[in-house]
Amino acid sequence: MKINNLVLQTITKVIVFLILLYSVDLFFAGHYTPGGGFIGGLMASGAIVLLLIAYDLKFVKKIFPVNFIYVTAIGLLISFLTGMIAVLSNKPFLTHFFNKHVHLPLLGETSLHTAALFDLGVFLVVVGVTMTIIQTIGEDD
């Protein structure tokens, strides 16, 4: 389905970055305001789907030259290993740790959570799964 849609393609070029940025924002906002890994991941896959509709699969593959099954696997591994941190320090699996006041360069005072790592795994799994499904179905001719 190769349709040359100039308007959509031009808009997409700009808007994809906005959506991706927004997905990152949603991901980080998750702990305090609406958002989180799941929504962020879906939003990011939404951006990729938009690229896919405006251009085609080859274009998407050129921009994201990754195997999305690996993305899924890595995400799952990150989430699992985050849980294992607690086990290694003799706490029940998936106990999270946090520090509310950390000074980071550039960012100033912020809080750090292992929950964010866990959520990063969720983010990656969601992106990986949606894109794997869409890609495999899309490639199947």
Partner: protein
């Protein structure tokens, strides 16, 4: 986690290294990397002999599912030690042997050693776990790894058949064992073997109505695993496995799991007369049947398989007699029988292990195991011949080898049962020693066939595919070690008696130290004359075997045919049944699912009196809600009447977006966001999928079909609505929400409750959800790409 826990788990963890070493170091045989582990385990267990021989047990436990009484409890006592040493010791030798037996370039060694390590860990788990459920888990892993190892050469149809047969029979027994364990739990309230035994000693469960059923279930489990008559049929077919596997799983360890179970659970069931009679009679029949059929085998490994069946029967019957000794309070009978059982267990592992390895060597060097084609190999393979000779003589019960000692003890136990003075023992009981004696004669005959038909007689090089020569030294080391043990245990049984055997005996029933002495010379006792009789009659039968072997044609062997028939018929019947309702049409399946859904839910809702309407908590309906509901209903109805797929998808999207607007109205931003994005992505997905469907217009359906669909969908909607109303109106307990409201910031330092619940409070759920997502993605990926691969192959 104690060291003992790690010892059980070590083989499983070790499997993770195999693929790495196999891939990276292809030039070195993978077996060399595996070998240190069983040696290390063996040394570890040996270092604990001091503990067990002073009748103490190493106990450790970690909770696993405490709410169900399932703990990963391990216990290393005398009996466990005996088995653990066998598993680790024979395991080391078998792995050493396999390094020379399996070619590193031709075989899939990574798979082989992974399966073997799985088996080793599982078997250690079976004999060391004190919790029946954990024991059961390991029990099934041994069945599965045995299945994989028998089918290792899975391009051969015989291997697949043998693997399947062993799987079907042992898993049938395994499930029956699980039922037995659950029944035992119902009777005693515990899964812990030690606890059950103590509680049974205080309060017998023999009068419990479930007692017989539980006992039979557990016996079935043990008998199928230990290849007892008539479940023995899987063992000869299991000989399709590579020889190291046969000598490890199917003679030295796995098949003895059933014997272990019987020994371990005897204190619970020995109060019942049925237990001991079933165990001893099944054992003695297996002994006779196995040894009788072994004589007719022409395949070396087939002969050894029947011989193993027969020897297992012998150990089983000894355990039965031992239980009888406990039942009738006759201590000396109990001790002699059980001592004979555990001693023969060790002896069998040594001589049968070496004989299997010998058969493997002959097969490897000559290319055949058919004794009709073999002969005269004595001069060509002198060391192998020596191994075969010593192993066979021990198996036949010739002094001074270890097989003779345990065989004498076996006769003594069988003769002892005369002392029980039971109601009919003078008539029927006398049969036991006679059957035992006849079985032993056949044992003598097949032992002679095994060694002399292979190594003496006429050398027939024209019938062999390769030119035989002596095996390489590496292959001979393991069987040489085993036959040296045969001789050492035969000459100095004291090495074993008070270090390993006696603790094993006492750990079964408890009690004090039993000073075990094993003698070669008992004076002119009946058992001596029995042994002499065995040798005399055995020799006569061996030399006249061609004359009397016609009887094998007269006796039909039906058990395999029964199994095949059962297997075929069940497959047929269930195939037909499944094909009746699995039509392949998605619509039909949806009809099944939805009709059962409505039926079961509405039935439960109204018979359990669950329906309730409570309007007191409802908020007033505002303008937004009314408009949104209207849009929702209209777009839903419009889907039904839309002509094209594209319209349907867009309308479906409209439904989804309206629902997310509801979330906005009800102030649930997280849900609204999620719903919006999901709706967007899934519309795109639908478009992609529908792009691949044929561009047919809607087919005209018949009126009854449409009508029944309408009825079902209306019912589903109705039931879901009723349940929603009822569940909103029923408050059985306080809501958990206030807990989250109070603790989200304190315990998880987050302010967004929904997200904190997802990643922290219920993080485990999320982990599993993303795992399910990943599995779904892999499923779709593999289904589609595999189908495409199939297409490509067709094109070629």
């Amino acid at each position: 986690m104690s060291i003992l826990h790690w010892a059980v788990l070590a083989p499983f963890i070790y499997t993770l290294l195999i693929p790495i070493t196999y891939k990276l170091l292809k030039r070195v045989h993978t077996g060399w990397f595996v070998l240190p582990l069983p040696i290390l385990l063996f040394v570890y267990f040996c270092s604990n002999i001091g503990t067990t021989s002073s009748l103490q047990a190493k106990i450790a436990s970690i909770p696993w599912i405490p709410s169900l009484g399932i703990d990963f409890a391990v216990k290393l006592d005398g009996l466990g030690m005996l088995f653990a040493l066998l598993i680790a010791g024979i395991g080391s030798l078998v792995i050493l042997y396999s390094i020379y037996y399996l070619d590193k370039d031709k075989e899939k060694l990574n798979q082989f050693y992974v399966y073997l390590l799985f088996f080793m860990g599982a078997m250690l788990g079976v004999v060391l776990c004190d919790n029946l459920i954990v024991l059961y888990m390991f029990w099934e892993i041994t069945s599965i790894s045995s299945f994989l190892l028998i089918g290792f050469w899975n391009n051969r149809s015989n291997s697949r058949y043998g693997a399947m047969k062993s799987m079907v029979i042992t898993v049938f027994g395994g499930l029956s064992l699980l039922a037995g364990i659950v029944l035992l739990y119902l009777m005693t309230g515990s899964f812990n073997i030690s606890e059950i035994i103590t509680s049974v000693q205080q309060k017998s469960i023999i009068s419990h109505p479930l007692f017989m059923l539980g006992m039979i279930c557990i016996l079935l489990g043990a008998f199928t695993k230990s290849a007892q008559f008539p479940f023995h049929i899987w063992l000869p077919d299991a000989m399709e496995a590579p020889t190291p596997v046969s000598s490890y799983l199917h003679s030295a360890t796995m098949v003895k799991a059933g014997i272990y179970l019987i020994a371990r659970l005897s204190p619970i069931f020995a109060v019942s007369g049925y237990w001991l009679w079933i165990v001893s009679i099944v054992g003695i029949i297996t002994l006779l049947y196995g040894s009788f059929l072994a004589v007719k085998q022409v395949d070396l490994k087939g002969l050894l398989a029947y011989s193993t069946i027969s020897q297992l029967g012998m150990i089983m019957s000894l355990l039965g007699i031992g239980a009888a000794g406990v039942h009738y309070d006759n201590e000396s009978i109990y001790y002699i029988a059980t001592a004979a059982a555990v001693f023969h267990l060790v002896n069998h592992a040594t001589f049968k292990g070496s004989l299997f390895m010998m058969a493997g060597i002959v097969d490897h060097e000559t290319g055949t195991r058919d004794i009709r084609r073999l002969g005269g190999l004595m001069k060509i393979m002198p060391i192998t011949f020596a191994i075969a000779l010593i192993g066979s003589l021990s198996m036949a019960g010739i002094p001074p080898l270890n097989g003779f000692l345990s065989k004498e003890m076996f006769f003594a136990s069988m003769l002892n049962i005369r002392e029980f003075n039971l109601f009919n023992l003078s008539t029927w009981g006398i049969l036991l020693p006679i059957i035992a004696w006849v079985g032993s004669i056949f044992t003598f005959v097949y032992s002679m066939i095994l060694v002399f038909k292979t190594f003496t007689g006429k050398y027939q090089p024209e019938k062999l595919s390769t030119k035989p020569h002596e095996a390489p030294m590496g292959m001979l080391i393991s069987p040489i070690i085993l036959v040296s043990l045969v001789v050492i245990f035969g000459l100095f049984p004291g090495v074993l008696s008070n270090t390993i055997l006696s603790p094993a005996i006492t750990s079964i029933y408890g009690g004090g130290v039993y000073d075990l002495h094993i003698y070669h010379w008992h004076g002119f006792q009946p058992e001596l004359f029995m042994t002499i009789g065995v040798i005399v009659f055995g020799t006569i039968l061996y030399f006249s075997v061609t004359k009397w072997s016609v009887i094998y044609q007269a006796i039909p062997v039906v058990w395999n045919r029964i199994y095949d028939w059962l297997f075929r018929e069940t497959e047929d019947v269930f195939n037909k049944l499944t094909n009746k309702y699995m039509t392949g049409s998605l619509r039909t399946y949806l009809i099944y699912i939805f009709s059962f859904f409505t039926l079961i839910l509405s039935y439960t809702l109204f018979t359990k009196d669950g329906f309730k309407i409570d309007t007191s908590l409802l908020a007033p309906i505002g303008g937004y809600e009314a408009v949104l509901s209207l849009v929702l209903v209209i777009s839903t109805i419009a889907i039904l009447f839309s002509k094209s797929r594209l319209t349907s998808i867009i309308l479906l999207g409209a439904v989804g977006y309206t629902v997310s607007l509801f979330y906005v109205v009800f102030r649930a931003p997280d849900l609204a966001l999620t719903q919006l994005v999901i709706e967007t992505v899934s519309v795109a997905l639908f478009l992609l999928c529908f792009y691949h469907l044929p561009k047919n217009a809607r087919k005209k359906e018949s009126i009854p079909f449409k009508l029944s669909n309408a009825v079902i969908s209306v019912l589903v909607g109705l039931v879901v609505m009723l349940i929603a109303i009822a569940s909103y109106s029923t408050k059985l307990f306080d809501s958990i929400s206030p807990y989250y409201v109070d603790n989200t910031y304190i315990k998880a330092a987050g302010e967004n409750m929904v997200n904190v619940i997802l990643v922290d409070f219920r993080g485990f759920d999320t982990l599993f959800e993303i795992a399910v997502l990943a599995i779904a993605a892999i499923g779709i990926y593999s289904m589609i790409t595999l189908r495409m691969g199939g297409k490509k192959n067709e094109n070629k």
